[in-house]
Amino acid sequence: MKFEEIKRQAQSRWQAIWNDQTPVILVGTATCGRAAGALEVLQAIKATAQKQNLNCLIYEVGCMGHCYAEPLVTLRKPGFPSICYGHVSPVLAENLLTNLILNDDPSLEFVLGALEENDLIPSFSDFPRSKYEKRILLRNCGRINPEEIEHYVANGGYESLSKALQMKPVEIVSEVKRSKLRGLGGAGFPAGEKWEVCRRSEEEPKYLICNGDEGDPGAFMDRAILESDPHSVIEGMVIAGYAIGARHGYIYVRAEYPLAVQRVQNALIQAEKFKFLGENILGSDFSFDIKLFQGSGAFVCGEATALIASIEGKPGMARHRPPRVAVQGLFGKPTVLNNVKTLAYVPHIIKNGADWFLQTGTERSKGTAVFALAGKVVNTGLVEVPMGTTLRQLIFQVGGGVIKGKRFKAVQIGGPSGGCLPQSALNLPIDFDSLQESGAMMGSGGMVVLDEDDCMVEVARYFLDFTQKESCGKCTLCRLGTKQMLDILEDITKGRGKMEDLETLEELAEDIKQGSLCGLGRTAPNPVLTTLRYFREEYEAHIKEGRCPALMCQTLIAYYILPDKCARGCDACVGTCTVEAISTDKKRRIKVIDQEKCVKCNTCLVACPPQYDAVIRLSPSNKVPKAG
C-alpha cells in the first residue's frame, strides 16, 4: 500500500471519531496517571457506559503533562468543546459522564480546561503558562492513543519518513547538521556531526541506538514520550538509520518503565505491519529493523559505551574514548547513539526544514527543551519550552511557583550530574552553555524545586550517595573518591564535621573530575561543588553549631510540642504516631513526645491541626526543654 493511501485511510478514521455524533472519552493512563488511580477511573467509565447504555468511544491516551491534576479525563460531546477534567475519581467520573452525555451539563466546577478555544470554557491556550510553552515533542502526548498507529499517522505521522525516503541520505545528514540539533540527552553534542562520522565510515554493518535509559532520579520526560507517543521515536529512528546507512537499530528502555516497554513493543509490531519498519520500507530499497532492549537498572548505562557493553551482554562499564562510538561502537562497528528526544525531533526537522528549527531557541542551543518539573512546585509535570526561557519563567510562570507559599531556595537541574542553583541564578536562560557555566548542566531535563525546608548539605549527600552506589567501579577515583566524599558529607549531616573537611571535599571533587573516564565520575561532584559554592553557610552551620538550618537532617533535629499551643483535648498526634512515642502528661494535661522513642517521621507535625500548629522541629536537638 502506498503511504498516501495509508494516510488517507487513517485520516478518515480519525475524522470519523471526532466528527461523528458519538461522544468520545479520553483517559490518561500513562504511569503517573495510573499512580493516581487512572485505571480505576477507566473501569468506572466503562462500567457507567455499559450500565447507562451510552453509545460512546473510550480511548486510553498518554500523558498531557499536567501530572499535578492526575487522573485526567477528557470528554467530548458533539456541540461541546473537548473538556478536560482533573483529579477525577471513579465516582466523579461516573457523574461527569452522565451529567454531560445524558443531561448536557458540563459540570463546570470540575473543569481543568478545554482542549480547543471556545466561548463556553477557558481553554488550555488561555492559561498563562501557555504563553511560555511550545509543544513540539509533546504535541501528540495525551491527545492520541499511543497503541493506535493510525492516530499517529492521521496527525502527520510517518509523513517525514515518506519524504526522507525520497531524499538522498547525505541530504538528510546535512539538513540535520544545518539545523544545529544538539543531543537532548544532556551533553548537547551536535547530532549531525555524529551522523556524518558514522555515515562516512566504510565499516559494515552500522548500528543506530536510541538511548531511553533515563536513569536520572527526578526525570521522566523520555518515559512520558515513549508511553504517550512511541511512534514519533520510531519514525525518527528509521530516518536516522536511513541517513547513516544502518540496517539494525536498538531501542534501549529501562526495565523500571514496564509500561513504556509494553507500548514500544506494541508500536514496533504495528510499524512493521504498516511497512514503516522491516524489509523494503514503504516499497523502497531500504530495510531497517529495531530490537527492544530492556536496561537492567544501572544508572551508568546512560553513558554511551556502558550502554553498548550492556547490549553486548556484559557488565555496563564505560571504556576509554577515542575511538568514538561513531567509529567503533556496538560489536566494534560504527554506531550512532541518540537520546529519545533527539530522535523524536528528527521527523519535525525533516518535515519543516532546518530553517524552521533554527527560528526557536538561543544562538547556540536551538529548538525546545522538555523538562520534568517536580519537587516543591505547584504544577508538577512535563513542560516543553523554547531554549533560552529563564528559570524564573519556567518555575514561577509555568510551574506556578513554590507549594504552600514557602520560600524558594534552589532548583536542582540535571540530576546527579547537575547542580543546585540558588535564587540569584533564576534569571539564567536555560540552554546548554549557560547552565554549564553556572556549575550545573542541562542533563536529561529533570528539574526539582527545593524550598526552605530542604537542606542543601543533605541534598548533596543524597546525590553523592546515589552516584557512589551507581559507580561501575572501573576508575579508582570515582570508586573510592566518591566514597570518601560521601563519608565526609555523612559526618557533616550528623554533626561530626570539621571545617577542614570542606577543603578536602573541594580537593577530592577536582581529583574525581580529572581522574574518571566517563560522564558519571566527571560530573558526580557537581551537586557538592554547587552547594558549596552557593550555600556554604549551611555547611558551616552544620559543622560549627551542630544545627541544620532547614530542619531536615534527622540526627540534628528533635520534634517538640509547644505546651502553650497544644490544644490538650485533641488527640490527633497521639493517634497518628507510628511508634507510640506521644502520650498525655496527666499533670499538665498536655501531649509530650518521648525523645527516646521518637523516630522523627514527621507524621505528628502533619497531623497537628493548623489552627494549633503546636508540633515544631528544633535544631540542634538539645534545644528541647528538659521538662517537656
Binding site: G215, R223, S296, P315
Partner: protein, 166 residues
C-alpha cells in the same frame, strides 16, 4: 530432586529453548528467568553459562552488576521504595524507614515469613506523585508512613479473609 527444583529446571529449559546462544542474549535470558522464577538460583546461572558457552563468572558478574537481578527468592509481595530526588525531598527516606520498622527487614531482604521483600529503586519516574512506593507492580502515590500502615493493614485483612474462606 524436589518438586521445586524440578520446576525450576523445567522453567529454565523453557526459557532457553526460545532463544539463540549468542552472548548478547545473556541479559534478556536472565531477565526472562527472573520473571519466571522471581530470582536467579546459582545452579540456573551455571546452566545459562553452559548454554551460552561462556564461563560461569561472566554470568555471575552480570547478575551482580545490575540492580534488577536478585539472587535470593523474593517474598510473596514485593515492595520497592522510590529513592528518586523528588521522592527524597518529599520524605522518601522516611517512608523507607517506616517500611523497615514495620517489616523488620532491611532493603534487599525478605521477611522471615516470606510474605514481603523490601528494596529500593532509583526512580520510577512518577516524580509528580512523590513519595512513591511500588507495591506488587502497582505504583502507590503519596506513600507516607501512615499510608505504609494502611497498605500493610489491607494485606493483613486480605490474608485473614483468605484464611476464613478456606
Amino acid at each position: 530432586m524436589s518438586t521445586e527444583e524440578a520446576e525450576i529446571k523445567e522453567k529454565t529449559r523453557a526459557v532457553l529453548e526460545g532463544v539463540g546462544s549468542k552472548r548478547e542474549n545473556l541479559i534478556p535470558i536472565l531477565q526472562k528467568i527472573q520473571e519466571e522464577l522471581g530470582y536467579l538460583p546459582p545452579h540456573v546461572m551455571i546452566e545459562v553459562a553452559r548454554f551460552l558457552n561462556i564461563s560461569e563468572i561472566d554470568v555471575y558478574s552480570v547478575a551482580t552488576f545490575y540492580n534488577q537481578f536478585r539472587l535470593t527468592p523474593p517474598g510473596k509481595h514485593s515492595i520497592r521504595v522510590c529513592m528518586g530526588t523528588a521522592c527524597h525531598v518529599k520524605g522518601g527516606h522516611i517512608t523507607l524507614a517506616a517500611w523497615q520498622r514495620r517489616l523488620k527487614i532491611r532493603p534487599g531482604e525478605t521477611s522471615p515469613d516470606r510474605e514481603f521483600d523490601l528494596d529500593t529503586v532509583a526512580c520510577v519516574g512518577c516524580c509528580a506523585m512523590a513519595p512513591v512506593s511500588v507495591v506488587d507492580k502497582k505504583v502507590e502515590a503519596k506513600a507516607d508512613p501512615t499510608r505504609v500502615d494502611g497498605i500493610l493493614l489491607s494485606y493483613q485483612l486480605q490474608k485473614e479473609e483468605e484464611k476464613e474462606n478456606n
